[in-house]
Symmetry: C2
Subunit: 156 residues, 2 copies
DNA sequence: CTCGATGCAAATGCTTTGCAGAAAA
DNA sequence: TTTTCTGCAAAGCATTTGCATCGAG
């Protein structure tokens, strides 16, 4: 059982996510609209970390009439039901990524080209728990970001 | 040689910071004004992580006529000359903390009462370098934040 | 039909800047 | 006197929301 690639999402995986979304909406009495299907679909298909503007652009490529507020509210919905995570890196904009529940990952961010590389580190992960406990905290989540220059930008 | 307390700043330490600021301003041909002295002073004296509004409030306690923009520009100046660090936690506001050059520290943040506890972890610190190298990055800085509930808020 | 969803445009909240008067040097 | 700094108010910008209309159930 190899580590699943995060480059792109297999169709089956996307179907699973769409299924979870449908289940959540049904449970909450929310409606399945063409916009929600479109926005969630382009988001699930796109690997990486995207701002609202980026998700809007992707959605508008398929339907130019989608509004910013709809993308905003749909992404909020995805965060609510645990299918997306909101993240803030150096700049002012909020970015969204698909939430992976199987394993945590953190980020290496290139200050020059803004490239974002994901990594996993179970060693640090375990350490955090112990640390939190030492201060009486019960951990909910964490953020571990390393900022620097990627190999390519170092050469310039 | 014990670990220096971060609770409050010794007067001697504050003088040292003020000295560094003066040196920087002189080098850059900037002027020493009563506002800059006041804002940097209240900031150096206050332990913790403060938003612009908080620094403004502290400054206005001593001189009600200080303007928001002056605090904004003074804090920017302190960041520029390396005496303060800018940080963004969960919310939308930027917070400032005194920059400690001797050792790094990271943060435990209570999601309920917003309390911020600092911790040091040289073990993780060393690990990060190795990790970055594995991906060809040269590290510049990092952010390691643990979010959860503090002992007090868990009881509620 | 009904009530939630959409899209627009306006409001918000924080940050940043232009400018005329004030104050260092 | 010259040049930088201050304080106000206005501009920027990403995010959020009110509301009339649209469309799923």
């Amino acid at each position: 059982m190899g580590r699943p690639s995060r480059e792109r999402m297999a169709d089956a995986a996307i179907d699973a996510l769409q299924g979870q979304l449908s289940a959540y909406m049904e449970r909450k009495g929310l409606r399945s609209t063409s916009q929600r299907r479109l926005v969630s679909d382009v988001f699930f298909r796109a690997a990486g970390h995207h701002s609202l503007d980026e998700v809007l652009a992707m959605a508008r490529a398929e339907d130019p009439r989608v509004g910013y507020a709809t993308v905003y509210r749909t992404m909020k919905l995805l965060v609510e039901c645990g299918l997306a995570n909101e993240r803030q890196f150096g700049d002012a904009v909020t970015r969204f990524e698909i939430a992976h529940h199987d394993s945590h990952h953190d980020h290496l961010i290139c200050l020059e080209c803004k490239r974002i590389v994901e990594f996993e580190d179970s060693e640090v992960e375990a350490h955090q728990e112990a640390l939190a406990q030492r201060y009486g905290f019960s951990l909910v989540s964490h953020k571990h970001e390393l900022y620097g220059l990627c190999a390519e930008c170092q050469r310039k």
